[in-house]
């Protein structure tokens, strides 16, 4: 795969420090919060690594951790990661994202495919099973954020995450995917191509070493990086037990702004954003609601180049959200064959998309502004 990965950054910090940081990330049962405390106390990962028996004190799992410490070979892990085209960024590395460095539980080392930077970033998260409405909302916000030069951070999952990454890419913007597995393990599989495109435009990031499988326990942890890398988190859709709410808890813990996109009161997918709105999250209707709150600038979106006529009429009907073909036939008064032809024409121009259930939605590019 041809990822536009920078040459692994060596020389800024000592290899021993990188290896020690990676090693700390491999210790079972030792959380990032503890490691952070030790790093502050000892000054470097290398020091922590060497003083580990003393730092562990009388912990119940002391023997296990020490066994892992003795058998760990962090240098090999670093070599493997680099051989696979990843950069390994230690906590002490100046390239370590400063926003992430400021959270209470930063990973001691990050594995990155692509390039991380300090540009303004906003996370868009939500249900893996998105409704057409949620998908359209995520796409529009991600597209407009990307046009405004804001990096879109998400988790590369199905549904809202995938829609957000993809729309950012379509806008020619930067997007960062945070994974709950090794950067070389792409999950879900059908996002392989999407993952490659994300790495080429921005970065794929994980705190898990290469080859780590996507275990269920990894995803809540991964969420703290999503909010940690961003200035704010936008929740598009989710049920009461949605993982998006985990991300929001981290965001609040990290002092990030929380935004929620209102939805239908009939949809169970609206429960999470509505609960957040009830608790004081910012309402998002358009990208300005996000960027102004964060003190950022909006960019003027390109206007859709579309002549008045039936195509424009159909697009206007889709302004209010995705609609079924029958609904469009009825609302437009145009014959069904004409509607079918118009949909294809607009699809080919990238202005609408069809979803299962004969649902037609505007792509962000098709929105008239």
């Amino acid at each position: 795969m041809n990822f536009a990965a920078p040459p692994p950054d060596r020389g800024t910090i000592a290899e021993a420090e990188v290896a020690a940081s990676v090693g700390l990330g491999l210790l079972p049962g030792v959380g990032p919060r503890t490691i952070r405390r030790w790093l502050d106390a000892a000054g470097s990962a290398e020091a922590v690594w060497q003083m580990l028996p003393g730092l562990l004190g009388a912990r119940a799992d002391r023997d296990e951790v020490l066994a892992a410490w003795r058998s760990a070979d962090p240098g090999t892990v670093v070599g493997t990661a680099r051989a696979k085209g990843m950069a390994v960024i230690a906590f002490a590395d100046p390239a370590y994202p400063s926003r992430l460095r400021a959270i209470p539980d930063p990973p001691p080392a990050l594995y990155v495919r692509g390039r991380l930077d300090e540009a303004a970033a906003v996370a868009i998260v939500g249900s893996r099973r998105a409704t057409p409405y949620g998908r359209a909302a995520a796409e529009r916000l991600a597209y407009d954020l990307a046009l405004a030069g804001v990096t879109v951070v998400s988790g590369l999952a199905r549904g809202i995450d995938g829609a957000a990454h993809q729309a950012a890419l379509e806008a020619g913007g930067r997007t960062v995917g945070v994974l709950g597995c090794g950067v070389d393990v792409v999950y879900p599989r059908e996002h392989r191509r999407l993952a490659a495109a994300v790495a080429a435009s921005g970065a794929l990031v994980s705190e898990f070493s290469p080859g780590t499988p996507p275990l269920p326990g990894h995803f809540p942890r991964r969420n703290r990086l999503i909010s940690g890398l961003a200035l704010g988190v936008v929740v598009v859709e989710g049920t009461e037990d949605s993982g998006a709410l985990v991300t929001v808890e981290y965001a609040l813990d990290q002092g990030r702004e929380v935004f929620a996109v209102p939805g239908s009161i009939f949809s169970p997918r609206s429960r999470a954003p509505h609960a957040l709105l009830r608790e004081g999250a910012r309402v998002v209707e358009r990208v300005e609601d996000i960027v102004h709150e964060l003190g950022l600038q909006t960019a003027r979106p390109r206007a859709v180049d579309i002549a008045p006529g039936d195509e424009a009429r159909l697009l206007a009907l889709l302004e209010a959200g995705p609609r079924q073909v029958d609904d469009l036939v009825e609302a437009s008064g145009l014959p069904a064959p004409r509607i079918a032809a118009l949909i294809t024409t607009l699809e080919v121009r990238g202005l609408v998309r069809t979803l299962p259930g004969q649902m037609v939605m505007q792509t962000p590019r098709g929105v008239r502004r």
Binding site: H191, D326, E347, V348
Partner: protein, 510 residues
Amino acid sequence: MLASILSATLVGLEALPVSVEVDIGPGLPSFAIVGLPDAAVQEARERVRAAIRNSDFAMPPRRTVVNLAPGDRRKEGPAFDLPIALAVLVATGQLRPDVVRGYLALGELALDGSLRPTPGTIAVAQAAGAIGARGLMVPEPNAREAAVVEEVPVYGCTTLRAAVEHLAGSRPLAPLRAAAGQPPPDPAAPEDLVEVRGQAAARRALEIAAAGGLNLLLVGPPGVGKTMLARRLPTILPPLQRAEALEVTTIYSVAGLLPAYSGLLWRRPFRAPHHTATASALIGGGAGSRPGEVTLAHHGVLFLDELPEFRHDALEALRQPLEDGVVSVARAAGTVRHPARFALIGAMNPCPCGFRGDPRRECTCTPAQVQRYLARLSGPLLDRIDLHVEVPRPAAIEVLTGPGGEPSQAVRARVVAARARAAVREGRALARAPRGPARWGLVEPEALAFLRAASDRLGLGARAMERTLRVARVIADLDAAEAVGSAHVAEALQYRVLDRARAPALDTLC
């Protein structure tokens, strides 16, 4: 004494004349049938003996031998009861030999001497007409179907005695004349498209399928009306021609599915075999030359609901009839070819749980499960399905309460007109160049450019593009357009949904 009379046995959908010879001679009383009779023919012995006695004729206790010639053909079914009985009566002097000469007779006898309906009578009537028979004696319930064949006088008999009395001239029957060779003025169909609300795309796809003789796949959650739509395809297909009606009637008669007292079947058949059907149930064969579902659907519609649930070998067996319009059934006695020119309508759920894209229920399938489900339709079968369209559950309740759609009659008028235009266009193209893409007619350069752009954007393969063009051609015919234009191609692309589901797009559809 020796006697003989003509009858016929069925070979596939055709009847082969059979000479029924009876010899009654000295010896111990016995009754033997030779000439490759099957079990049902063998049992004629008992029925014939009882029927003769119970019709107040004499069944002498002599040595009776029945020979069915030609002797190398297997004889099937109970249709030989009546000719055997008549020949026995001639051989025993109860009927003059000259009165039966030139007659064909068939029919199953009941023990009391009455005649029961017998399958394949119309096929026998055609054979009788072909050999110039003097008359055809058939069970009365089958007389109307046989009378469709005008080349032979048909006499419907209720009993053996009635048949004998007619032949003897003591109580002659009037030959039954077919009422008319024309279809009834309005064969009022029980279904009509007017009853289908909404589903604009599926209705349109149905119209295109009817106009182009194309096959169609309906994809949608359970209970949205896929079966309802499919049942209405026959109502928008052009009315059957007489020759077609004759073929359909013959098939149903041979299959024993023609109702008693039925004349020609003027309505296009609609067959909906269950998804547990075996390959031989679909294509025919097995014991006897029973037509399979594909043949029963000849000139009509074969509807396969839950298409991916059908057995793989059963679906594979559909390839030949879909390609050639005939099906060859290999049997011990040789291969029988049955006609099988039908419109295929398949129906399936959009995913294993059935609720993908459903606005009211949540789909619980992973994208991988959906892909696996769609992959169950074999490529070769899918290649022969020209149109695939979604039949979604309506999100808005108004669709359910709104006005019905256009009636079938109006759609059928457009279908008939489009077919006529296509026939003229193809005739011209064939005269110019008998082969090659000329049969597509003209395609505007912009339409081709659009198709290329669309296939890039939507990720279509070469085959999908060709199929799209084929659908676009039919749309152009419906539109009375000489050349296929961009709008026709654009519309056609909406009826190829599976091309997209399979396209390795960047985004997933779930």
